[in-house]
């Protein structure tokens, strides 16, 4: 479990172990109890970020194919958004193993990139900004492991926005 592995500087001291374990414990338990992040009939809050990540990856791939000047940035963006989609799907699947880890929506039509290069660049910029905002909005309400995952997604999208050509 990635959420239970402390990084190298998070050496637990005896004094703080109790509160740390409490936090780690509640994160670990979130998926195993009846008080899971969402009730059975409600859509999981990670569904939309997962779908958005898949859509962004498809858009970025289309831009990479159609615009050589944007290919490097778009290819990198597609790879990162694909990684986000995979991680979010894995977490969705962990909480609800009955659902397929793959996308639960029918395969979408291949994304079309704007023909104009400036418009394609703007489309990528808008996509990563929207993704950053969506992920950031979920960092406060979600339990620790999911909050940290969404925080990384938001930070990654912000970093793409910062280095788009």
């Amino acid at each position: 479990m990635p959420d239970s592995r402390p990084s190298r500087r998070q050496v637990l001291t005896a004094a703080a172990a109790a509160s740390t374990l409490l936090a780690a414990g509640s994160a670990a338990l979130a998926g195993c109890t009846s008080s899971a992040p969402t009730a059975p009939e409600q859509p999981d809050l990670l569904q939309r970020p997962a779908q958005r990540a898949e859509a962004d990856a498809a858009l970025a791939q289309a831009v990479a194919l159609g615009h050589p000047a944007l290919a490097a940035a778009a290819t990198a963006l597609a790879a990162d958004r694909q990684a986000h989609a995979a991680a979010l799907r894995a977490e969705l699947h962990r909480v609800r193993p009955s659902q397929s880890p793959a996308s639960s929506t029918p395969p979408r039509a291949p994304a079309a990139a704007p023909a104009d290069q400036a418009a394609a660049r703007d489309a990528l910029a808008a996509a990563v900004r929207a993704a950053q905002d969506e992920a950031a909005s979920l960092v406060v309400p979600l339990p620790g492991y999911r909050a940290a995952l969404l925080a990384s997604v938001a930070a990654c999208c912000a970093s793409h926005a910062a280095v788009l050509p």
């Binding site: 990198a76 909050a147 990654c156 280095v163």
Partner: protein
């Protein structure tokens, strides 16, 4: 991020003291490292450097204030730090900048993971994580290092 983003938590608010101390230590390191790196970076990077150093001072002060408010003595800065490699030129200075941003991102992500769902603290930590990820990408771009981004900034 603004200093206001680090407003004092309500009294008795449970905060992840260990993770915040680690974040503060990372910020002390970053402030020190930018002082060293700045000596080896060309003048044209002065603005980017000053911006990064100022951001880390703000995060450092914010983390200190949160710890003091929680009654935990903030870890002090060390007189000096060991760098992973000697910093002797612009290239090694840029590598150090990427490393301190990577470490800061990890420390702040851990604050988010270990904090209760408390809006102010999590937002401040998210701002710090996001800022670190953005600066790391910009330094990689400056250094011509591909890829410029990582998919999960701060993840172990």
């Amino acid at each position: 991020m603004t200093a206001a983003g680090f407003g004092s938590p309500p009294a008795k608010q449970r905060i992840p003291v260990d993770a915040l101390q680690a974040a503060l230590a990372a910020e002390h390191t970053a402030v020190w490292a930018y002082g060293l790196a700045g000596a080896f970076m060309p003048d044209k990077l002065a603005g980017q450097l000053a911006e990064a150093a100022a951001a880390h001072r703000m995060c450092r002060d914010g983390a200190e204030a949160l710890l003091i408010a929680a009654g935990a003595p903030p870890v002090p800065a060390e007189p000096g730090y060991l760098t992973p490699e000697p910093v002797t030129n612009s290239a090694s200075a840029l590598r150090l900048a990427v490393i301190v941003e990577t470490d800061a991102a990890a420390a702040w992500r851990s604050v988010i993971e270990r904090s209760p769902a408390q809006a102010e603290l999590r937002r401040a930590a998210l701002d710090a994580l996001t800022g670190a990820a953005v600066r790391a990408a910009r330094w990689r771009a400056t250094a011509g290092r591909i890829p410029l981004t990582v998919p999960f900034p701060g993840a172990p």
